[in-house]
Amino acid sequence: MEELLLKIKEQVIDVLNLEDVEPADIDTDAPLFGDGLGLDSIDALELIVLLEKQYGIKIEDPKDGKKIFQTIRTIAEFIEEKKK
């Protein structure tokens, strides 16, 4: 799990162009949207693309993203769940 969490943080930093942010700066359980990293609806769509491109998971309804992308941990749990 730890390995996956780190990998997701690196990928999120990369696809969302989070300049000067290190994986260690992102709290695994802090909200990604709203105040946290200041992400918006376009970032949410970019995360949907990330899941498809890197993990082969397709999300059809963008509204599903709200639950999945709450925190880095919820993303990891979702990926683990899908792997099973």
Binding site: D40, S41, I42, L45, I48, D61, P62
Partner: protein, 399 residues
Amino acid sequence: MSKRVFVTGIGIISGIGNNVEETLESIKQKKSGVTDIKYLETIHKGQLPVSEVKLSEDELIEMAKLDKSEPFTRSTLIGIIAAAEAVKSAQINDIKEYKTGLISGTTVGGMDKSELFYHDLVNTTKHIEYIETHDCGDSTERIADYVGVKDFVSTTSTACSSAANSMILGTRMIKNGLLDRVIAGGIESLTRYHMNGFNTLMILDKEPCKPFDDNRKGLNLGEGAAFLVLESEELVKKSGKKVLAELTGYGNSCEAFHQTASTPEGKGAYAAMKEALDRSGLKATDIDYVNAHGTGTDNNDLSEGRAIQTLFGNNIPKVSSTKGYTGHTTSAAGGVEAVLSVLAIQNNMIFPNLNFETQMKELSFSPETELLEGVKVDHVLSNSFGFGGNNSALIFSRY
């Protein structure tokens, strides 16, 4: 200086008709232009419904009696057809008689041909003649050439409010005495490029769109071109020609909120409508019909609906979105809906919002779902909102 600006001609081509007459007939028959993709070459054929102009490019060339050897993009072709119809409808025989401008809104420009010939052009000189048709201004120049406009030619590019902004610019130029008349509107043909783009944003409905419905899933793209001929008060008095409507109000606002999204409470939409209303000198209760932007996306219909509620309070006029007919014709939408607004006034008609079923939880009103005939339509408010938070509103009034 002309205090008033009049609409003396209209021209339109879209998925519901190749001219004004066919368009009105389709509206009356509740015949939508939204169908399976036929003309656009894309992997989304059979999956995403769109409203295409129901003619091939060869047929369009024939219709406009153009030289087949010249490079014309699909956008330019439909633009020529709509602009020529507008000029004819305004009974203009000699375009050079008065200082005339042509202002066209487009954002995709000549992308339909660029994406088709891109791979040829990278390696060969095949289709090289289409290189110059790519930029947005090329279509405007060719339309201006076709109708003979030389005095002022300009292109506005503000996404889905482009055509509305063309009309605003034209109106202001007439009011300030820079031009006597302007052919203003917008054009956009479907391209893989913007269809994929909208699909990427996950805002395309796989079924016919349902504006202002609680279960709306997104928009259907459409293509089309529409122009109005706007003339100064002086010119209209001189010629004594028939006036179709008066452009009494216009407003433009910037939301400064997000690249694509509107504020959920619709601040920008409200500001544009309020500005148009104030400029027209009308009261909110004077508006008989709002032809809404109503794309069918989650975000637009919520923010626009709330803005309408803020502006009109408890006296909300009839509201409908005609996107269920024409699809969202993006840069041409303001032109298409301006023509429809003028038709509403001329025919005392309010158009139905197709596909509506379920009341939105957040709104107190629901859109008009029936074709209303013989009703009072003296003032129509028409909205066009674009990516980047560029919002425009126009008011057309009976003359």
